[in-house]
């Protein structure tokens, strides 16, 4: 057993424990509880002591008893150095330290005497630390979005750190912002527009893309190679260089402020990626199946509908979901083309809400939840398809 290894073990373990406690404390602070000190010095040193004790006890005690004992020790220590905190806070500390001691149970004397054990330990903790930190950093804005939408302006100004949700006030009061957003700010209408535009884009894109992708994947014609490279190049052209000419053309044709105009632009911009993704999949379907179709006397249309489509349903669903996501989240074109509130999409409506006169932030966040939730639900539910869509089409963004 090397001294260096023991030292790194205690040091890194305690640091990890401390960072877990920090995240817990931040979350507790956001419940409106007054907590102004992380107590770095005390907690860190006590953490080191406990890690050393853990090492000393080794396997002399039953594992579960040891875990509970150490966790209890830590929570009691924390309870004494901080004052006036509710019991559920200490219970959280207890659970976190239980989790932590469970994680370091493998680092015994044996492990620490091996080669590279301090590096291995470091990376194991880095992974754990990374997972915690990444989840926290990613989920925190979403969490704030949700809880802000349940508060009222007065409460938010009174204590900007109090995001506790008061369930006692009843559901209508809790969801007040949502009622207002739908009733006074017309979000029902915007949601309908967004749904129509997104679904419309998906359907039209597929109608255009499936035949074209089939032709590129299977048929021989002059200019095929040129076409397939152009698809990729066109795909890399960003919306910002199209905005001014499209704006001028659309204003002169009277296509601004119309859902049709938006549908045309969305379809055209998602078409290259849809063709690109689909033709890759069509190429992987065995040619023999189509040849059998030709012998049966099918024409091209029959082959596409009866052989290709049923076989490539997974690819088509991932293209459809990906296109839906792009259309639902799209902002630049809806900003440029829509300036009458009766044609707004959800994204545009939220931007309008923010730019307009001092809109209370809980309404803004309620609107944000309304636009975010459907896409997250779809993502979690159809994750398999969307992830493959994202990977295939991820040149875009």
């Amino acid at each position: 057993m090397k001294i260096k290894n023991i030292f790194t073990y205690c040091f890194i373990s305690s640091l990890f424990l401390f960072s877990l406690i920090c995240i817990w404390k931040i979350l507790v602070t956001l419940q409106g509880i007054e907590l102004t000190n992380f107590n770095f010095n005390k907690l860190f040193i006590f953490g080191i002591i406990l890690c050393a004790i853990n090492l000393l006890i080794g396997k002399k005690l039953n594992l579960n008893i040891k875990l509970i004992l150490l966790a209890l020790l830590f929570s009691i220590f924390d309870y004494f150095i901080s004052t006036n905190l509710p019991i559920w806070y200490s219970f959280g500390i207890f659970l976190i330290s239980l989790f932590f001691f469970n994680n370091i149970k493998d680092y015994d004397k044996n492990f620490l005497s091996k080669n590279h054990s301090s590096q291995k330990l470091f990376f194991n903790f880095l992974t754990l630390f990374g997972i915690t930190l990444f989840s926290f950093v990613i989920l925190f804005p979403f969490y704030m979005m949700l809880v802000t939408s349940f508060k009222t302006q007065a409460l938010l100004l009174l204590n900007p750190l109090d995001f506790s949700i008061n369930f006692a006030q009843g559901l209508p009061a809790l969801f007040k912002s949502y009622f207002i957003v739908f009733k006074d700010y017309n979000f029902g209408r915007y949601m309908l527009t967004s749904t129509i535009v997104s679904l419309g884009t998906v359907i039209i894109t597929l109608i255009f893309a499936i035949p074209a992708a089939y032709a590129v994947a299977r048929l021989n014609f002059f200019g095929k190679n040129f076409l397939s490279t152009s698809i990729l190049i066109i795909y890399l052209f960003p919306a910002i260089v199209l905005v001014i000419p499209l704006y001028t053309i659309f204003s002169q044709l009277g296509l601004r402020n119309s859902i049709e105009g938006l549908l045309i632009v969305y379809t055209a911009t998602t078409l290259p990626v849809a063709i690109y993704m689909l033709q890759g999949y069509f190429k992987s379907i065995p040619k023999e199946l189509e040849e059998a179709g030709i012998i049966d006397g099918q024409n091209w249309l029959g082959i596409i509908f009866k052989i290709i489509l049923p076989l490539s349903l997974p690819a088509i669903s991932s293209v459809a979901l990906y296109v839906f996501m792009i259309a639902w989240n799209e902002f630049l074109f809806s900003l440029m083309f829509l300036d009458r509130p009766n044609t707004f999409t959800l994204s545009r409506a939220i931007q309008f809400l923010n730019v307009g006169a001092e809109t209370p932030r809980q309404y803004l966040m309620a609107g944000s939840v309304v636009v975010t939730l459907p896409i997250l639900i779809i993502f979690v539910y159809f994750e398999k398809y969307l992830v493959s869509g994202l990977t295939a089409g991820s040149v875009k963004g």
Partner: protein, 419 residues
């Protein structure tokens, strides 16, 4: 026989791709070319409205004579800047009504009043008064007269279709003192945003590539910032970072980490003292880059994770036998395996970040030193209203883009050769 089949095949292929090609051509390629056209013209936002001849019809009864009626047409040119030529006027009247007298511009034939009103200069206004009488000496109903609306037509020059060109837009773009600053901001944002996203992507992929409880859930969560709508995320961040009521500043003050609030999105520079040297950090730009990294590292993560999962396990097992430590394993096995993915990823993200508009627009609107080229396109074209200038700036973007694409396809070709 086979040549006939080939012919049919060719025809079918063209038929199948034609709708897509037409749509993409008219909505993507045509605009890119018209960008070049517009950038050489002096066009402003207000010029985009096509001038229209307009008429307002007023019906006035004449005192003591119900069988006669006076019609006044208030005519005007809707445009403040352009002339309308060859204006023609048409209005319909009920039966048994005819004008008492007409000027030489107008004609009345079978219930139709037709006038040739000639050329109208900009801001032109004129009143046309005509008295009508009932041929049967009956009372004229005002209501019926009002129900017909006059129709006008005229020719005007569309400023977009003239052959007058100017180099002024490009001169203005290049001579602008802020142009160098604009370019450097764009490259700073693009470069650090891309590098950051890739570094965090590698870290996240390394993490998720190990087995732990809740791994699939973790993979979904990591993709949340990428799939959620940018509008919602940008405004949430704005509220989080707000100097007075934002959560982040209040948390930091609460834990006595900072003394006073920091305006992370509204302050251009912050002076950092590192080892006795003062560094000027572009604060708002850095915040915007952090948002950018937060939102796009999931993509790098997804790509790299897919590659990592394809790395043969035997390589790591062999390294274990050789007694390699984790850093050696990462540097000598993992990194070479994912290097190709990283280079492709770098180019793609570089191209997309270079054109990123929404994120900066929603967070800062281009203020406090975050004005990049795409933001400038919007500001020139729509805030200032100079469409020609906006187009010229987007041409600058296209030129850079073509250079990047050239490099990207070179890289892609090289990679295809290697495989």
């Amino acid at each position: 026989m086979s040549s006939k089949l080939a012919k049919i095949e060719k025809r079918t292929a063209y038929l199948l791709i034609l709708p897509s090609v037409l749509l993409v051509f008219s909505i993507i390629l045509f605009p890119i070319f018209s960008n070049i056209w517009i950038s050489f013209k002096n066009v402003e936002l207000k010029d985009l409205r096509i001038p229209e001849p307009r008429a307002k019809k007023l019906v006035k009864s004449i005192k003591d004579n119900p069988t006669q009626i006076k019609i006044i047409y208030k005519l005007r040119n809707s445009s403040l800047t352009q002339e309308i030529t060859n204006v023609k006027f048409k209005d319909k009247y009920p039966d048994n009504i005819e004008p008492i007298s007409l000027n030489n511009k107008c004609q009345f034939k079978s219930n139709l009043l037709k006038c040739e009103l000639g050329n109208w200069p900009k801001k032109y206004r004129e009143n046309l008064e005509i008295v009508f009488q009932n041929t049967n000496n009956q009372e004229i109903s005002k209501k019926e007269l009002k129900s017909y609306k006059p129709k006008l037509s005229g020719k005007s020059q569309n400023i977009l279709l003239t052959y007058e060109f100017t180099l002024n837009n490009f001169k203005k773009v290049i001579k602008d003192k802020a142009f160098i600053d604009l370019l450097s901001t764009t490259f700073y944002y693009t470069f650090f945003g891309t590098i950051g996203a890739i570094v965090f992507g590698i870290l996240a992929a390394q993490m998720v590539n190990q087995k732990f409880f809740g791994r699939t859930f973790m993979r979904s969560v990591l993709l949340f910032p990428y799939v959620a709508p940018v509008v919602a995320l940008a405004y949430t961040w704005e509220l989080l970072l707000d100097p007075t009521s934002g959560t982040l500043n209040n948390l930091l003050i609460n834990y006595q980490i900072i003394d006073g609030p920091i305006n992370l999105l509204g302050q251009k520079y912050v002076t950092l003292n590192i080892l006795g040297f003062d560094f000027k950090l572009r604060l708002a730009l850095t915040t915007v880059i952090i948002f950018e990294i937060w939102r796009y590292f999931p993509l790098a993560f997804l790509f790299i994770l897919a590659r990592l999962q394809a790395v043969p396990k035997e390589l790591y097992e062999a390294a274990d036998v050789d007694g390699a430590n984790p850093i050696q394993k990462f540097l000598n096995i993992t990194l070479p395996q994912i290097l190709a993915v990283i280079s492709i990823l770098f180019m793609i993200r570089f191209i997309w970040n270079f054109n990123k508009f929404e994120d900066i627009f929603l967070l800062t609107g281009g203020a406090s030193g975050t004005r990049t080229l795409p933001i400038n396109v919007y500001q020139q074209g729509f805030s200032i209203g100079d469409i020609g200038m906006g187009s010229a700036v987007s041409i600058v973007i296209v030129v850079f883009l073509l250079i990047f694409m050239f490099i990207y396809f070179k890289l892609l070709g090289k990679r295809a050769d290697e495989n």
